[in-house]
């Protein structure tokens, strides 16, 4: 996987390097039939290129909404967002890839074809596509399941296909919305390590939503903690643990105190 898809960006954004995310005073209000819901209020955030940022916060605080806006899938009610220096009024797979909270696989395609889908959109040759899709499926431990249709897969397997689909696109920024929620702990850990390996190798910027504080600290360079509705950023922690991360760190003091600090925020807000 090369970074060649990033090249066209050089023309658009001479100032900011590819992969930088800037969120400035962003707010989001949903109009429902009954009342207006302020989902996010005055959120500002800077993610430097190549950083692994984890977003945590209570259910319904607006994490998915923030991700959708960064992906250009939803427009903020106020404020600005730039990705690699340019605003993102429309989804742009050359800049941003998304793994959704719900697997959202195409039921009429096999696992393999689902993973190939974003490549097919760009007109990549069939054989090339197949190889890359199979690599991605191997990465998520679904070697040999390529020919299955989504309804023939378990919940966790679907989610893994969805992750493979996100990875295969290889954009400079990867947004992942609770990608490991449906996985068992072993698979979750293996995939976490795999993700870190890919991240380190490709220099991607990753924004990752999770409910597991252990996972958050284990994966992140920085953890961003959000308050319940209306969602605001209440803390922004740097994780000073060295890379590569190891399971031993989980029982270390640094790890424990960071986890505790986040936990207190979450607890307070509930």
């Amino acid at each position: 996987m090369g970074g060649n898809t990033m090249q066209p960006l050089a023309n658009i954004t001479p100032l900011k390097p590819a992969g930088a995310i800037e969120v400035r005073n962003v707010g989001q209000v949903f109009k429902t039939t009954t009342q207006d819901v302020v989902a996010l209020e005055d959120v500002s955030l800077d993610v430097k290129p190549g950083r692994f940022v984890v977003l945590v916060g209570p259910s319904g605080c607006g994490k998915s909404t923030l991700l959708m806006m960064m992906a250009g899938l939803r427009q903020q009610t106020s404020g600005t967002i730039t990705i690699s220096g340019a605003p993102i009024p429309e989804p742009d797979p050359n800049r941003v890839g998304v793994v959704f909270q719900e697997a959202s696989l195409f039921p009429w395609l096999t696992a393999e074809e689902n993973v190939e889908f974003p490549l097919a959109l760009r007109g990549i040759a069939k054989s090339d596509r197949r190889t890359r899709a199979q690599d991605a499926l191997k990465l998520v431990g679904l070697d040999g399941f390529g020919k299955r249709h989504p309804h023939e897969l378990s919940g966790g397997m679907k989610q893994r296909v969805s992750i493979a689909r996100g990875l295969v696109q290889d954009p400079p920024v990867l947004l992942m919305d609770e990608p490991f929620a449906a996985l068992d702990e072993q698979t979750r850990m293996t995939m976490g390590d795999e993700l870190l390996r890919i991240w380190a190798a490709t220099g991607k910027t990753v924004v990752f939503v999770t409910h597991s504080l252990t996972e958050a600290v284990y994966l992140a360079d920085e953890v961003i903690v959000m308050s319940p509705r209306p969602g605001r950023i209440v803390d922004h922690l740097q994780v000073p643990l060295p890379r590569p991360r190891t399971y031993e760190m989980l029982s270390g003091d640094t790890f424990g105190s960071l986890r505790d600090r986040i936990w207190r925020h979450i607890r307070k807000s509930a």
Binding site: L73, F106, H151
Partner: protein, 265 residues
């Protein structure tokens, strides 16, 4: 008894009744001539019917392309764009609410009396159900799938071809069934009303002179077209079955679904 056997039995008994009822005098030959005399009548004028069939098939084929192709495309575009949908759909379905058959004789003034007017009429007749079904099918698509495709940078046409149409396949197929059938009906009916060629023309000509065996020979040909069309749709359905695995239509297309998946009724 297997379903296919029972179906065959029904068909065979219908055919038998067709022969017996008129022969025994239960139905006057004017209304229903026996199957054998119908076949004989058709056979005697085989050339004439062959020529008429060619004309009708030509008209059906072109109308089918317009109605089904256009209907799916238009329905998909209109159904997936919220603004045009809100604006256009009510008008289109209102337009369809106008019983056009009444105006057909007047239409021929502008479209002429040849194949064009039949094709135009049948195309409109079949276009709208196909389009409406496609648009309706698209509205029931899981929005999450469209979101996912959008995030991967699918262009409008890619979303249409790769997401919207496959997801809407079951509904589109049924729209196609209805639309295609209406195309056949539309061509034959307009031939019956005004024309100088085609099966519909033969049917109405023979009716005017009370030649019922020849009328039903024409009807038989229409039935044959319906059967052929049905077979074609079945073929497409089988091809598309793999696409429908997420829906109940797909579930029942599979032989392997355990009994427990079947609803209680």
């Amino acid at each position: 008894m297997s379903a296919a056997t029972l179906r065959r039995l029904i068909v065979i008994s219908l055919i038998a009744l067709w022969e017996i009822l008129p022969r025994a005098g239960f139905i006057p030959e004017l209304f229903l001539p026996s199957l054998s005399s119908t076949l004989a009548a058709g056979w005697n004028e085989a050339g004439e019917y062959g020529h008429a069939l060619a004309v009708t098939l030509y008209e059906v084929a072109i109308s089918m392309a317009f109605a089904c192709g256009g209907g799916i495309l238009f329905g998909a575009v209109v159904g997936s764009l919220p603004r045009p949908r809100i604006l256009i759909m009510p008008m289109v379905s209102s337009l369809y609410a106008v019983p056009l058959v009444i105006l057909y004789p007047v239409f021929t003034v502008w479209l002429g009396i040849g194949s064009e007017s039949k094709i135009a009429f049948a195309s409109i007749y079949g276009f709208l159900p196909t389009m409406l079904a496609t648009a309706a099918g698209i509205q029931t698509i899981d929005p999450q799938l469209l979101l996912a495709a959008r995030s991967m940078g699918a262009t409008l046409s890619q979303r249409l071809v790769r997401v919207i149409i496959p997801a809407a396949i079951p509904t589109v197929l049924s729209g196609l069934r209805v639309g295609g059938a209406l195309v056949i009906v539309g061509v034959v009916v307009s031939e019956m009303l005004i024309s100088s060629a085609g099966i519909g023309y033969l049917i109405s000509r023979y009716r005017t002179i009370l030649d019922s065996p020849h009328v039903f020979a024409g009807v038989l040909l229409v039935l044959a077209m319906a059967i052929a069309f049905n077979a074609a749709i079945k073929w497409i359905e089988r091809k598309a079955a793999i696409w429908q695995t997420g829906t109940r239509a797909g579930q029942s297309a599979e032989e392997t679904v355990p009994a427990a998946l079947q609803p209680a009724t």
